[in-house]
């Protein structure tokens, strides 16, 4: 099958993404053919990214876990309807975002944080060094405070703005991919992104150095 033709509708920006999409499509075809165990490979591959999106939208560890599981179950139930018009990860992100937005709308008034511990191993140490010159307990306290302020500021954003800035800045999706996941135009994505950054700069100005 010529996979290039399949993805003509989707703007896949990088060759890495294209290769990833091709590999995913092969696995999806296996699952559609009846190899249910092949879906576990997709789960292992995307669970952290899906969890990251949901977690940054909800700012709640337990909710993010449940919603990520729901996302994979929905994807498994609807895998036969996936026709390959877009990449699998975009399709999976769309399910995750819609599931999370539905949860947030249902529980609009219920908001409390349960944050993951900051894993410094996977973080750019330069940023951390720039953020703080403290050592030991003071540094941990400062990072914890920064983490809470950052989450508070994100939660003050509206759901569409939060979604866009999460997908762009944290998950690294392109404007076109975000537009496809969210279901709006790229111009709307850029507009929301600009507004969200301005808002966060106002909220976190204490921690910014320009």
């Amino acid at each position: 099958m010529n996979l290039t033709k399949v993805f003509t509708k989707t703007a896949i920006t990088t060759p890495e993404r294209q290769q990833e999409a091709d590999a995913d499509l092969v696995v999806v075809r296996q699952v559609q053919a009846g190899d249910v165990a092949a879906f576990d490979r997709l789960i292992v591959k995307y669970r952290e990214r899906v969890f990251g999106v949901v977690y940054n939208l909800t700012a709640n560890r337990e909710d993010a876990s449940d919603l990520t599981q729901d996302t994979f179950i929905k994807a498994f139930q609807a895998i036969n309807r996936f026709q390959g018009n877009c990449s699998f990860f975009t399709w999976l992100y769309k399910i995750a975002v819609n599931t999370t937005l539905g949860h947030l709308r249902k529980n609009r008034l219920r908001s409390f944080f349960s944050l993951e511990k900051l894993n410094e191993d996977g973080t750019n140490t330069e940023v951390l060094e720039q953020l703080t010159d403290k050592r030991g307990a003071d540094r941990d306290t400062y990072l914890r405070e920064l983490q809470e302020k950052l989450n508070e500021a994100l939660q003050k954003l509206s759901i569409p703005h939060r979604t866009v800035i999460t997908l762009f800045e944290i998950d690294g999706l392109s404007h076109s991919e975000i537009a496809e996941v969210v279901g709006c135009s790229e111009g709307t994505v850029r507009s929301r992104l600009h507004y969200a950054k301005q808002f966060l700069q106002g909220e976190l100005g204490k921690y910014l150095r320009t």
Binding site: E48, R81, E116, E120, D133, E169, L200, Q201
Partner: protein
């Protein structure tokens, strides 16, 4: 607190990238995988609702025939229930006539009918109480005031042959023997009196029919029960004449005839 080193720059993008470091540990993923498999099994066992398959049906381009069928069905239902909607029936809230005495119900049509005849032919009919009492009239089932008046008016136009013959006989009798008729009928119910009484009863009837049908029926019942010929108080010459006639008719079989007051005694 942030350092005041002017050389180091921290942007909002740098802060947001810190969020990437918020990742759960390996033990979280072990638990996650176990829960996910449980949920998958539950989802497989759980019966899916019919509306969950609607996107599949729509995806198979069944929306055109399904939509057309829905429109046709809606139109059919709408036309059926709007075109043949029954007109609102207003229940008759008029008070029903409570008939206390069943005799009233049987007497009422006759009296109504006779009153109607008398009102149409006052000079002829009002002279005959028998005709008044025995004129057959159509049975009118009177339900309320609104239905009563047309029934009365219709009954007034009815004149039966028997009523006519009875009235003619009475008229002949009055002409030949007015005293006898007066004595039998009583002075109070002589022709003008009877005309007046019937007229008053009729006017009472109409008034009460308009105002209260129950009252009207009570009046009719009283009128029907009232004896048209009260206790005859025949004069002495009439009594003698009756005794003489009886004596002539009965002949020799009767040895003695005596009239005392209102009683006639015969001895054979």
């Amino acid at each position: 607190m942030p350092s005041a080193d002017p050389k180091s720059k921290v942007s909002i993008e740098d802060l947001l990238r810190l969020k990437r470091a918020e990742r759960p540990g390996p033990e979280f993923w072990a638990n996650f995988e176990r829960e996910l498999h449980q949920k998958q099994l539950t989802a497989l066992v759980k019966k899916r609702r019919w509306w969950h398959d609607m996107p599949v049906l729509l995806g198979r381009r069944l929306y055109l025939p399904a939509g057309a069928a829905a429109v046709v069905a809606f139109t059919f239902v709408a036309v059926r229930y709007t075109a043949t909607a029954p007109m609102a029936e207003i229940p008759n809230t008029a008070s029903r006539i409570a008939t206390a005495d069943p005799a009233i119900e049987t007497l009422a049509p006759t009296v109504v009918g006779s009153l109607a005849i008398e009102s149409t032919q006052p000079k002829q009919q009002h002279q005959d109480p028998v005709a008044v009492a025995s004129t057959p009239a159509p049975a009118v089932e009177v339900r309320d005031t609104a239905e009563l008046m047309p029934a009365i008016l219709a009954a007034r136009e009815v004149e039966t042959p028997s009523a006519r013959s009875i009235a003619a006989n009475l008229q002949r009798l009055e002409q030949s023997e007015p005293e006898l008729v007066n004595s039998v009928m009583g002075s109070r119910l002589s022709t003008p009196a009877r005309v007046q009484t019937v007229a008053s009863v009729e006017s009472d009837m109409e008034r009460s029919a308009v105002s209260d049908s129950g009252k009207k029926y009570r009046l009719i019942a009283r009128y029907a029960d009232r004896a048209l010929s009260p206790e005859p108080s025949a004069p002495a010459n009439v009594r003698d004449r009756i005794a003489r006639r009886l004596g002539d008719d009965l002949g020799e079989g009767i040895s003695r005839i005596g009239v005392v007051g209102s009683r006639v005694s015969l001895k054979f």
